[in-house]
């Protein structure tokens, strides 16, 4: 058995492969293992159904946020259409499950692939132009997709929505918060693992090169158009996958949640969590979801004690305001997001009492 490595007292890396290690030390590996054991074996048995519901929402949002982070944080392209892509995934899963009769374990990845194709179509302008134009194209994509979801009656049943048959493996039915907890977090772990490792590969390095300097990247022989589209497709795949999970979890799909504010919510997750940081996306999703619940709690509380009447204070504007404020504050004060705060806190513990 090899020696356990704990914190080295200097930088002893000798080659690039060591630089790319996910875990600097075995300590981190053990911690992650413990965390996963706690997550899968202790959490679902101890927490209340309401907490499980929140955790599930976080899990789904985190998958979408990881996808968006691949695009924004690693490739440097902004998408304002991820709310709609999430919707495309949800509808694709619903249609595949009801019309084609696919089982959920096929329908969810298939929905992801369909969303990736849709995303690639929207992403084509990025090949001709750099920078901001893709953002505008995705904005257009958001509105067009929203329109199609509402008005393509024969496929999406318009405003009525689609009800999805329960997810089944053999005879075992996945229903209720607890079984969905396992499904969602299994997917989340898998998707995180995939994203982290892709970012260490040739593809991830190409994405980062494009983000940092696209001309130089082109000069080094990276076909930019191909990689931008690839990044876009990956990112939409994640969004569609999350949307499909969401559709199964919520049982019925209607078009109205997939609007521009959902897209902004996903962007907020990425920025608040930390751009270019996969765990950051999970932090961001956690933060935003908890913020949502906290605001709901606060408005409920204020209504109960009679400070405001139910008509006086609506939940939506307050939420919108706080979202905007948190995006703005994070950009101004900590542009690298929660992931950076987390790093600083950790290194403070490690370096204490000699913090320099």
């Amino acid at each position: 058995m090899r020696k356990f490595s704990f914190h080295p007292c200097g930088n002893y890396r000798e080659d690039y492969a060591q630089e790319l290690n996910i875990f600097d030390t075995d300590y981190g590996r053990v911690c992650l293992g413990l965390f996963l054991v706690l997550l899968f074996f202790v959490t679902p048995l101890t927490v209340s159904p309401y907490m499980l519901y929140i955790l599930n929402t976080i899990g789904i949002a985190a998958i979408a946020a990881i996808g968006l982070n691949i695009l924004i944080g690693y490739t440097g392209l902004i998408s304002l259409g991820h709310g709609a892509f999430f919707g495309v995934g949800a509808y694709a899963a619903a249609i595949l499950a009801t019309r084609v009769g696919l089982d959920f374990y096929l329908a969810i990845p298939a929905a992801g692939i369909i969303t990736a194709l849709v995303g690639m179509i929207i992403g084509i302008p990025s090949g001709r132009l750099k920078g901001l134009y893709l953002t505008i194209a995705t904005l257009a994509g958001q509105f067009i997709i929203e329109y199609v979801l509402i008005h393509w009656d024969s496929m999406t049943q318009g405003t009525m929505g689609i009800t999805i048959p329960p997810a089944k493996i053999m005879q075992w039915e996945i229903a209720g918060d607890k079984s969905f907890f396992f499904l969602i977090f299994f997917c989340l772990v898998l998707m995180t693992w995939f994203a982290v490792n892709v970012m260490r590969s040739k593809y991830g390095r190409a994405f980062i090169a494009i983000r940092d300097n696209d001309r130089a990247a082109e000069g080094m022989g990276i076909p930019i158009f191909k990689y931008k589209l690839l990044s876009f497709a990956m990112s939409s795949f994640y969004a569609g996958f999350a949307g499909a999970l969401w559709a199964y979890y919520m049982v019925s799909v209607t078009a109205e949640p997939f609007n521009l504010s959902l897209s902004v919510e996903f962007i907020a997750m990425v920025i608040i969590g930390g751009m270019g940081n996969i765990p950051g996306a999970i932090f961001g999703a956690t933060f935003i979801t908890l913020l949502n619940e906290l605001l709901r709690y606060i408005t409920g509380f204020l209504m109960n004690i009679g400070v405001v009447t139910s008509s006086g204070l609506n939940m939506a504007p307050l939420r919108e305001f706080v979202f905007g404020l948190s995006i703005v504050l994070f950009i101004l004060l900590e542009p690298r997001g929660i992931a950076e705060i987390w790093r600083i806190v950790r290194s403070n513990f490690r370096l204490w009492p000699f913090s320099y």
Binding site: L129, T135, I224, F321, I327
Partner: protein, 292 residues
């Protein structure tokens, strides 16, 4: 035929509105190459300031109008000072995300204060401004809009071509570092462009409010409709914004009139995607060919 003509006139009128809404947007883009996603909220803020001054404070129209313009000018300064200035020299992605955040913030704020209902201004434009051409009736608001947009077009044209500040602004937009090293006061240029943009936005917000009533959701969706308009006209051309606005306006009213009313709101975005694919710098935009 009358239906066609009425649609044509309506389209041009709506288009002019889009055009003047887009002018403030182009202003910011021209001087700092920032895409301002909070533009619709700036429109709404102007419209609501005016509403508050007229109905709550009960001021006469002209004074309220001037106060709104001054207020929004200052607001633009403040936005730049507190939110945008710390980001000078940062990556563009942060600045754009910041405007997305600002948009959500302002929208929430307006909704908290005024709610999401439709408000209307009292009627104050004289009926003598109305035009009648045969069967076609042009409401006074639209003729006022026409006058205002032509006036601003000329003013801005002169400003960017002749005045020192305007030339500074163009130089900053072209190359920030070079402008800085040649002694252009970049921070002042930014502050001024945001202030002027907020002023123009508030003015177009008021005009929109007179026509459609004041509603946050409508106004902020117009802020997003600015994108097809400016992409069609060319992102950095003020004349292009007006022409792009008219084309988009015509397109919308004709689709609404002949095809289907529900398609009306999506058509600009469909056109937007096509323009991006075919002629991404728009009709009058500066072509920078860089295929990377």
């Amino acid at each position: 035929m009358d239906f066609f003509l009425q649609l044509l006139v309506n389209g041009v009128c709506v288009g002019l509105l889009y055009g003047i809404s887009a002018m403030g947007f182009v202003m910011i883009f021209k001087s700092s190459s920032v895409l301002n996603f909070a533009h619709g909220e700036l429109l709404a803020l102007g419209a609501f300031f005016f509403l508050a001054l007229i109905t709550w404070a009960g001021l006469p129209v002209l004074i309220a109008f001037i106060l709104t313009l001054v207020g929004c000018f200052i607001l633009g300064f403040l936005i730049e000072k507190f939110f945008l200035r710390p980001l000078i020299g940062e990556k563009l992605i942060f600045v754009i995300m910041l405007t997305v955040g600002l948009a959500a913030m302002f929208k929430g704020l307006i909704l908290l204060i005024w709610g999401g209902n439709l408000h209307t201004y009292p009627d104050f434009l004289p009926e003598s401004l109305a035009l009648k051409l045969g069967a076609i009736y042009i409401a006074p608001v639209y003729s006022a809009t026409l006058v205002i947009s032509v006036l601003f077009l000329v003013l801005f044209g002169l400003f960017f071509k002749k005045s020192a500040q305007g030339i500074y602004m163009r130089s900053v937009a072209d190359n920030q570092k070079a402008a800085l090293s040649l002694g252009v006061h970049v921070r002042r240029v930014f502050a001024l462009s945001w202030a002027i943009a907020a002023l123009v936005a508030s003015m177009s917000g008021i005009v929109l409010g007179i026509i459609n009533g004041v509603n946050v959701h409508d106004l902020s969706s117009i802020g997003l409709k600015v994108f097809p308009v400016v992409i069609l006209g060319g992102l950095d051309s003020i004349g292009g914004a007006i022409i792009g606005g008219i084309i988009i306006g015509l397109l919308e009213t004709f689709t609404g009139g002949y095809l289907s009313p529900s398609l009306r709101d999506v058509v600009p975005y469909i056109v937007l995607v096509f323009i991006l694919l075919v002629k991404p710098y728009g009709l009058f935009g500066l072509v920078e060919i860089e295929r990377v």
